[in-house]
Amino acid sequence: MFGGIDPTLLIASLMVASVPILLAAVGELVVEKAGVLNLGVEGMMIMGAICGFITAVETGSPALGFVGGAVGGAVLSLLFAVLTQVLQANQVASGLALTLFGLGLSSLLGQGYVGIKPPLSKPVPFGPLADIPVLGRIFFSHDAFVYMSVLSVVGVWAVLKYTRLGLILRAVGENHDAAHALGYKVRRIRVLAILFGGAMAGLGGAYLSLIRVPQWVDGITAGAGWIALAIVVFAAWQPWRALLGAWLFGGISVLQLNLQAAQAGIPVEYLSMSPYLITILVLVIMSSRRGRAALSAPACLGQNFHAAR
């Protein structure tokens, strides 16, 4: 029925398609673990996309482009950090404002960069490994960022679970008053987490403009940031599930285009809505198992902290 689809290529391209949302989701996961709800992921991603693009075009180096993207995302998130951690502004409103601001600012910065091609990055040379049938195509044919995105999941998981740093971060997110009483600098830790989240979202955006599309156009992220936010909830704030969620989402969106190209007799509308439908379905199933999902949200998520209170 789906004769034309090669599962090997499908898996390989779903890994690529999910990189931007995975990077952004992992960043946001850390931010939310620290008790901060930053809804500005979309804005930080697109700032990363344009800053990375500009850096890569000006320097001619894709690697520096990614650094530029991370810096761009982090700088924008710094604005959010100042608003919510220093000025104690509402996090939801600030996050939404950050998205709107990022979209506009990126469009302004990108004025002179429309229609330019960025320097291309090459797949990591694995030599003979890439020639292994099936596995070689799936695992050893990508650019460095596909591996980095998976490594970032491993890294964040290990840090949160096994290190003192992860414990402090979680303490700040679960109960900021207690963490403060123990002498931890709640707001400083949160600012650092926000910067990390901004840098990761920036990387995700830079991946879009430098590798996946690769060019700069206004509104290039097209809602990827919101999907990343949904994945964090979907993952119940656990890194491995974020990986699963990103691959599921990336996988379905790639699969639906493949099914169409293979002329499978399924109406396009169902295929187009399937990623969103499945995301909703999974969220419903997860939240119906009350205990565990409810427990896993950081208790202080979205609450501002002030030592004088």
């Binding site: 469009s107 060019q215 156009v217 290039i220 097209a222 990827a224 790639v254 169409q260 187009s272």
Partner: protein
């Protein structure tokens, strides 16, 4: 306090209303609504080039304003109302999806002229429609696709299932089939005009399934960027704009929408008061559809064949939809030698015989 506030508001409202009217008398204001960003380098970009041509032609006599990335639907109606209130004399709505909004707002502002691109509804005398015969350009692309494909699989990224796009798919397929009877077409509906990541993914999905010539009906250059990654194995076409930065390959030629002559003419008619309701549908002959340079990435004989199609259409000796043509279900549409009437094309909701798959409803 309250009364003073009320008076102040009224005064402000009056001054705005009169101020707007006074401004409108000084200068003719031409307004443009775009569905995507000007920076899409495709559809909206070309309309904006037309708007700039209007400004250049009439200089101080005309004020040109525009709004980009206006969603089709309720937002469009709000934007149009705002523009009409803001003193626009003529408003160009440049996407099919603005059709109902344009007609609804036009009823409320009989003194403002509305020009709707690619639509067919003219419910009040101040609404005109205009379109370009893009399917003529698709005939040229189809000819190249049929001759250039090695896998005999060609692809088309559709945006929305509207007559405009279906016409393009049919024309593309018919002309590929004409020069290469073994050709197979796969159509992917992106269900968006502009989403670079999705367009790239759609191109990628087709390439993975062996498609080696991709035409797109979406607005960005992303499918070309994806084709470029294949290292010359996959070719594509510039859509709406020349997309010259992907020359000589993967972009082997392009359809360029040249709206400037039409916009200049229509705004000129507003200036001298001769504007009236029209339904314009111009093509290669009138210069509204231009075929971008055919690059050396295609062999000379392919280039010659494509140019012959182009020139025959321009000369009026050939119509891309000339019978015999059957519909997808095998029922006859055009008899031998018969050409498609415009009415059939503008309401086209069927594939021609040989295309697989269904049109989404």
């Amino acid at each position: 306090m309250k009364r003073r506030h009320l008076l102040a508001t009224a005064a402000l409202g009056l001054s705005l209303a009169f101020g707007g009217a006074a401004l409108a008398q000084d200068k003719t204001k031409a307004c443009f609504v775009y569905v995507g960003p000007i920076g899409d380098l495709g559809w909206s970009y070309q309309h904006h080039q037309g708007a700039l041509a209007v400004q250049k032609e009439y200089g101080d006599k005309v004020e040109v304003t525009w709004q980009e990335s206006v969603p089709e639907g309720a937002d469009a109606e709000r934007v149009l109302t705002q523009m009409a209130l803001g003193g626009c004399d003529i408003i160009f709505t440049t996407s099919f999806g603005y059709m109902d909004a344009t007609n609804a707002v036009a009823k409320k502002f009989p003194n403002v002229k509305f020009e709707h691109a690619t639509g067919f509804k003219r419910e009040s005398p101040n609404v005109a429609t205009y379109n370009a015969r893009f399917y003529e350009g698709r005939a040229v692309q189809g000819t190249i696709a049929g001759l250039m494909t090695k896998s005999n699989k060609i692809g088309y990224i559709g945006s929305f299932p509207i007559p405009e796009v279906i016409m393009g798919i049919n024309s593309y397929y018919l002309h590929a089939k004409k020069v290469n009877p073994n050709v197979e077409l796969s159509v992917v509906w992106a269900m968006t005009w502009f989403d670079p990541a999705k367009e790239a993914d759609a191109a990628k999905a087709m390439i993975e399934q062996g498609v080696d010539v991709i035409a797109s009906h979406t607005d960005s250059t992303a499918p070309l960027a994806e084709a470029e990654k294949s290292g010359g194995k996959v070719i594509g076409f510039g859509q709406a704009s020349d997309m010259a930065e992907y020359k000589p390959s993967p972009r082997v030629t392009s359809i360029i929408d040249n709206w400037a002559p039409y916009y200049v003419k229509r705004v000129g008619q507003v200036l001298d008061g001769t504007w009236d309701q029209t339904d314009t549908w111009a093509g290669i002959k009138e210069g509204e559809v231009e075929i971008g340079e055919i690059t050396d990435a295609v062999p000379a004989e392919v280039k010659a064949a494509a140019e012959k199609v182009r020139d025959d259409i321009a000369a009026g000796t050939y119509h891309p939809f000339t019978g015999p043509i059957n519909k997808q279900d095998g029922s006859p549409w055009l008899a031998e030698g018969q050409t498609a009437p415009d009415g059939d094309l503008l309401g086209m909701n069927f594939y021609v015989e040989g295309i697989k798959g269904d049109i989404p409803k």
